[in-house]
Symmetry: C2
Subunit: 216 residues, 2 copies
DNA sequence: TTTTATTTGTTCACTGTTTCACAAACATTA
DNA sequence: TAATGTTTGTGAAACAGTGAACAAATAAAA
């Protein structure tokens, strides 16, 4: 039995749990209770227990959860692959920052190689082999499913090529709109939009408080 | 009347609309219908109409929405401030990439200045003035509400200082867990977690499809 | 071994979000 | 001006997610 029919909201919380659990494991913590974990991840104990229960009966009443076991189950059931092959498309400023950041072993795999249209960026100068964009189809690692996209031109065309190469998940840092077939999961990260969201929420909170104070 | 009591889910979609509308405006599009906009942003027309309706009766039956008016209302009602002052805390690889990216005028304001503990990073070498972290309280711009956090040490302490300086929104790139008082909005961005989420979703989709195919 | 204390897994009620479906409003054409 | 076609704005239904409460299960203590 594999994890199936897990609510989207829960799927989005799993990485949070996994991150906290790894840190606990590192610190030598062997067992944890939902209430305690709650204080680390800011998620209600009830929600934690329900989220975990989708993956089986992982805990013991009156005892809690075994950290090692929990991590093992997470990895197994959720298909975390420590050698998940990830490619980076676009070796600009952001791409280079990501390559430098590439200490993801034992968390989710690592960036295998990168691609860029600019041939002056090719080579191994950034710690990861950068190939010309022309060689995408040739150099993309076998079984690679995840691509990080940090380009700003020819986005749609590039996405089409990636999908043809078997990519099923894209972390999207472009500011462009593009289409991908169903079955390809896109996770867009846009600092500008994040800031806007923050501004909107801040303003919304503010006007709520004002309303409370003035009583109107 | 200001935007008030807007659902959180809606607030999170406003940046998406705004981005799409700006692009349409740039391309000379003057009017748009919810159905058409839907194809650009992958949100149901009905959801779009309801989201817009929180800000007033912006459209006209049988006609659609006026793009210019829509953008104007968004900016006004949501408090988008083109000179929203943003500070960057941490001038490492990622921080520098963001400074280089700092072309946000007419979208959401821009990074006014940055701070870093490492004095060798201080100065204007990256296009934005970088101050020593010691000078935070002194150099932080008046009225600054938003901070982008890209540090990896002393996170909690730094957050406390930022909050004391009046920061009410934090874009968080650290991989650490920290606490902030209510009223401070946090938007966490973690590439590793994003990749994991992607992997989980991809696997979840896969097992669903398999189940369908095998009929079991 | 029995009792007590603890913590899980899950049911139920509630709240928030999305979608359907349609009346009302307007643009457009004749 | 009247008739027609289109698209909004929204009430109400359906769906999804959250949190309180508690029975069942186990650990720990007596």
């Amino acid at each position: 039995m594999t994890a199936n029919n897990v609510p989207k909201a829960t799927l989005q919380r799993y990485p949070v749990y996994l991150k906290a659990l790894r840190r606990l494991q590192k610190n030598g913590v062997e067992r944890i209770m939902s209430k305690e974990l709650s204080s680390f991840v800011d998620i209600e104990p009830t929600t934690i227990r329900r989220d975990f229960s989708f993956l089986g009966n992982l805990g013991k009443q009156g005892y809690g959860y075994d950290v090692d076991k929990l991590i093992e189950i997470f990895n197994g059931q959720l298909g975390v692959n420590f050698d998940e092959k990830i490619i980076l498309v676009g070796a600009g400023n952001l791409g280079r920052a990501l390559m430098n950041y590439n200490k993801w072993d034992y968390v989710v795999g690592e960036i295998e190689c990168a691609f860029d249209v600019d041939k002056s960026k090719c080579g191994t100068q950034f710690g990861v082999e950068v190939y010309s964009m022309d060689l995408l189809e040739e150099k993309i690692p076998k079984g690679c499913r995840i691509a990080i996209l940090t380009i700003s031109h020819n986005v749609q065309e590039t996405v089409d090529r990636l999908v043809d190469c078997g990519i099923t998940g894209i972390v999207d840092f472009t500011h462009q709109h593009f289409l991908a077939p169903k079955g390809v999961v896109i996770k867009s990260i846009d600092v500008v939009s994040s800031i806007q969201e923050l501004v909107f929420m801040t303003n919304s909170l503010e006007s709520k408080t004002k309303k409370q104070k003035s009583g109107k």
